[in-house]
């Protein structure tokens, strides 16, 4: 299934980025362990979102040219670690190219066999249910096998206007 655009006016990528940078996003690490090699794969997404409560589903999208996602999804079961404000280094480590990106990051294996990154706000264990292409991205729909909030709660990492930040409650 492919969603095609009907765009009467050309919007170049600079304009798209300039306007969409006004939308703040959370930062999530999507990770799994390769069942054959035992090596962890991971990537960062700024599009993780809630989708459905019944059944429990979440979604995110990833560039269709991503080399990380095919490796992560091959494991079948993967984790989403929602990053806290002091996990910028984790974000940078997983955004970099290369193998074994979790080697410099603290994590533990969950009962689902997925890596949970230490210090995160919450962890989701997920299974890929559907994927479809929309433009230059793939939309992933995943069922939630389990979801766990961290105790005590800490502040979230937020990406906004090209910078990292956190959340300040409105007065």
């Amino acid at each position: 299934m492919t969603a095609t655009a009907i765009a009467p006016r050309t919007i170049d990528s600079d304009r798209y980025r300039a306007v969409m940078r006004h939308l703040p996003t959370g930062v999530a690490a999507v990770c799994s362990t390769d069942p054959v090699t035992g090596i962890q794969n991971g990537m960062i997404v700024g599009t993780f979102a809630s989708l459905s409560m019944e059944p429990a589903l979440v979604t995110f999208s990833v560039m269709h040219s991503s080399t990380s996602w095919p490796k992560i999804s091959e494991a079948g079961t993967f984790s989403v670690s929602l990053l806290a404000e002091d996990q910028q280094q984790v974000c940078r480590a997983l955004s970099a190219k290369g193998e074994d990106k979790l080697s410099s990051v603290g994590w533990s294996e969950s009962e689902w066999g997925t890596p949970h990154l230490h210090g995160s706000l919450a962890w989701f264990d997920c299974r890929v249910e559907q994927q479809f292409t929309a433009g230059d991205h793939v939309v992933v729909i995943a069922s939630v096998l389990d979801m766990t909030p961290a105790e005590p709660a800490s502040a979230p990492l937020i990406f906004h206007g090209g910078r990292f930040g956190s959340f300040r409650e409105a007065a």
Partner: protein, 194 residues
């Protein structure tokens, strides 16, 4: 088209309350989806799931609860504006989140290029034509093809754990070995939407 998984494999018992509690940890922007019908009735709903999707072609997406009474009316128009709300638009968010008609009454707005309402004071406007919609679980997932985008004013409104908020820049502490005056500027983070 319904693409709800035939049988999800959720072994843990994830109640709606637990789902809300854990996903409440995720900070989101607040976006008003607006349109106007042939009777000049302005329609609007608020979502926390508006996302960038594709650069080429330019696409965006959002998810809306099946129980929404506004979306069936907006869907008929097949076009909408996504207004990314600013941190002084909490009252507008509350107005548009109400159930029932006339929730748009008194909200200052101007018509965008598609004729859809641009709420005055939003931080960005993304005009779209609906290009795909699928049913997934208890929500509709809507994909919009972007026809126009404009920057507005102010800074974005945030929502998290049931509370409104603002973006708080993180001050990067200077390494101890570097005198404060020569503290490095924050390095540009890698794009997080890859």
């Amino acid at each position: 088209m319904d693409i709800t998984p035939a049988s999800t494999t959720a072994l843990a018992d994830i109640t709606p309350a637990h789902y809300r509690q854990v996903l409440g940890k995720l900070p989101t922007g607040v976006t008003a989806i607006t349109g106007v019908n042939d009777d000049d009735e302005k329609l609007g709903l608020v979502v926390g799931t508006f996302q960038s999707l594709s650069l080429d072609p330019p696409l965006v997406m959002f998810c809306v609860d099946k129980s929404s009474s506004s979306w069936p009316k907006l869907r008929k128009l097949q076009k909408f504006t996504a207004n990314i709300l600013s941190d002084d638009q909490i009252s507008i968010c509350r107005s548009l989140s109400r159930k029932g008609p006339q929730k748009f009454e008194g909200l200052p707005c101007t018509a965008g290029p598609l004729g859809t309402p641009h709420l005055d004071g939003a931080t960005a406007y993304i005009d779209c034509v609906v290009t795909a919609e699928v049913v997934v679980g208890d929500h509709y997932m809507v994909v919009g093809a972007v026809t126009n985008m404009e920057e507005g004013t102010g800074d974005a409104l945030l929502f998290r754990a049931g509370k409104f908020g603002q973006y708080l820049p993180i001050e990067i502490p200077a390494p101890e070995s570097v005198p404060a005056k020569q503290a490095p500027v924050e390095s540009v983070p890698a794009r997080s939407a890859s």
